[in-house]
């Protein structure tokens, strides 16, 4: 019997045939749940993690409704938990709801919702039948909530949760963020079947994002509170990953690994001193990149880097509050390419409120241009109104109409909106053209290298 079973839902049907490396969703272990598990273990609770994506033997991470129900029955019987926590993103929320229904059909144990989607829409989750919602970062909140339930205390004293009382929705005040990330135990990787993932070596060195990009919910999720772990704490976790799990390929899943240039250089120096045969990848901001940092990254083992560029039109880029310039992007790609980093991704979004046919052509042309500068991969997505984003909250003010919003299709490739300049149908056509024109150039550049 386990005290707490933590569940990650399977992916929706539209994710089938997504086994390629484009499909990051199935390639990384649920490190957030591993953090929750390790904190609960430290507090004296026994835990288990079930990643339902792994029950799909095709590797797509997709389960039919009937299989999902059967899998949930099986894991409830196997672990016999006293509490179930289900973490979901917008795209997987419908499956989180199916998991809730499957648990409730065989047991009356409390089911707690967590993750980014229900953080912003707790009312929906409670009306769907979840007993509680843990909002934002969950380690301390779920621990206190479980204690309150067990000791029959007043839930209103637990900050950062939502629940129903006498038919009314109660949202307790937001919890203060964990200021000292080094105080958290390392994620409980023993609870993960690491060999099932392409990205076995996921690690997080910071939390939160201070930036105000209008299409992204990362800043809102963290209330823009950016915190970094200490370098020695990071090195210690990497050492544990290397020695205990034989990991030599690391994936830094920070929102922005290079947000603070000097700090990033200092961490790279420590990694270079401590590890001689590792390689790793990270996400970075173009405006923080400089030749010296690019060299530090390479010397420490960085072989893959991703920049969120978002648009190839400066006016559109400025309107989305990204805070970077096209020149900075070009320079950043040039720096990391010159430093020797072989895998440089620059990602783009089309369908911004200010986008026009001309600005989207600018984006396609700039993405193709970056492939000449040194980028190796420049994918494009459709603007998606995720809950928590300024775009979602202020759609009307942006001149955006959300035509439909099926949660399970809320994932970058489905046209859900129309803007003041572009219909939904035209956006879909432009998305197809953008993908094709950009990938055609990626194909040609790859041929040149061969």
């Amino acid at each position: 019997m386990k005290d707490v079973l933590l569940v990650l839902p399977s992916l929706p049907e539209g994710s089938r045939n997504g086994r390629s490396m484009l499909h990051a969703e199935t390639s990384a272990p649920p490190i957030g749940l591993a953090y929750i598990a390790s904190y609960l273990t430290q507090q004296g609770h026994s835990t288990a993690i079930e990643d339902l994506r792994l029950y799909d033997k095709t590797g797509d991470g997709v389960l039919s409704d009937s299989v999902l129900e059967s899998v949930v029955s099986g894991i409830i019987e196997k672990h016999n938990p006293r509490f179930v926590g289900v973490s979901s993103k917008t795209q997987t929320y419908p499956n989180a709801r199916r998991i809730l229904q499957a648990v409730k059909s065989v047991s009356d144990i409390p089911v707690i919702a967590g993750g980014i989607h229900t953080t912003f829409l707790p009312k929906e989750a409670l009306q769907d039948g979840f007993d509680f919602v843990v909002r934002r970062e969950g380690e301390e909140t779920i621990s206190e909530l479980i204690q309150a339930i067990e000791e029959r205390k007043d839930y209103t004293q637990v900050t950062g949760i939502s629940f129903m009382k006498d038919g009314k929705i109660i949202n307790t005040p937001d919890r203060q963020y964990v200021r000292d990330l080094d105080s958290l135990p390392f994620p409980e990787r023993d609870s993960l079947d690491l060999d099932k993932y392409i990205q076995r070596g996921v690690i997080i060195t910071s939390r939160g994002c201070p930036l105000p990009c209008n299409f992204c919910s990362c800043g809102a999720f963290s209330n823009h509170a950016y915190r970094r772990r200490g370098k020695e704490n990071i090195i210690a976790e990497m050492k544990e990953m290397e020695s205990k799990y034989d990991i030599s390929e690391f994936f830094f899943h920070d929102d922005t690994f290079t947000l603070q240039t000097e700090d990033a250089k200092a961490l790279c120096k420590r990694i270079e001193e401590e590890f001689k045969d590792i390689v790793w990848g990270c996400q970075a901001r173009a405006d923080t990149m400089e030749p010296e940092l690019a060299k530090s990254l390479y010397d420490a083992g960085c072989r893959a880097i991703q920049f969120g560029v978002e648009s190839g039109n400066q006016e559109v880029l400025t309107s989305m509050r990204k805070g970077i310039t096209l020149q900075q992007v070009e320079d950043a790609v040039s720096y990391v390419h010159s430093a020797g980093i072989p895998n440089i991704t620059c990602s783009f979004i089309i369908g911004h409120p200010e986008d026009t046919e001309d600005s989207i052509a600018d984006t396609i042309n700039f993405a193709r241009h970056l492939l000449d500068v040194g980028a190796t991969y420049t994918p494009v997505s459709l603007l998606t109104p995720f809950p928590g984003t300024s775009i979602y909250k202020n759609a009307e003010a942006y001149g955006i109409k959300i035509v439909e919003h099926p949660w399970d299709q809320t994932y970058f490739a489905t046209p859900l909106i129309e803007t003041k300049n572009l219909t939904r149908e035209r956006l879909k056509e432009l998305y197809n053209i953008a993908l094709g024109a950009i990938f055609n150039k990626i194909y040609e550049k790859a041929e040149e290298r061969r």
């Binding site: 484009l22 499909h23 045969d277 390689v279 790793w280 994918p379 094709g436």
Partner: protein
């Protein structure tokens, strides 16, 4: 300055890509899902087919 193609020319590029993968322009999103290898993917140099070459380069 760099090559700045008008949208109709970019559409022709998309058609060329679609033909490479035996699909239509409408089928491109599905086709890109199936691409694998060192040239298509955010972390491909680490997870891709030729990842060992990048590791050896560092030794």
């Amino acid at each position: 300055m760099y090559e700045n193609k008008p949208l109709y020319e970019l559409a022709k590029e998309a058609e060329t890509f679609a033909q490479r993968y035996n699909t239509t322009v409408e089928g491109i999103p599905e086709a890109t899902k199936r691409l694998e290898g060192p040239d298509f993917g955010m972390f491909a140099a680490i997870t891709g087919f030729n990842k060992d070459s990048y590791r050896n380069e560092r030794k």
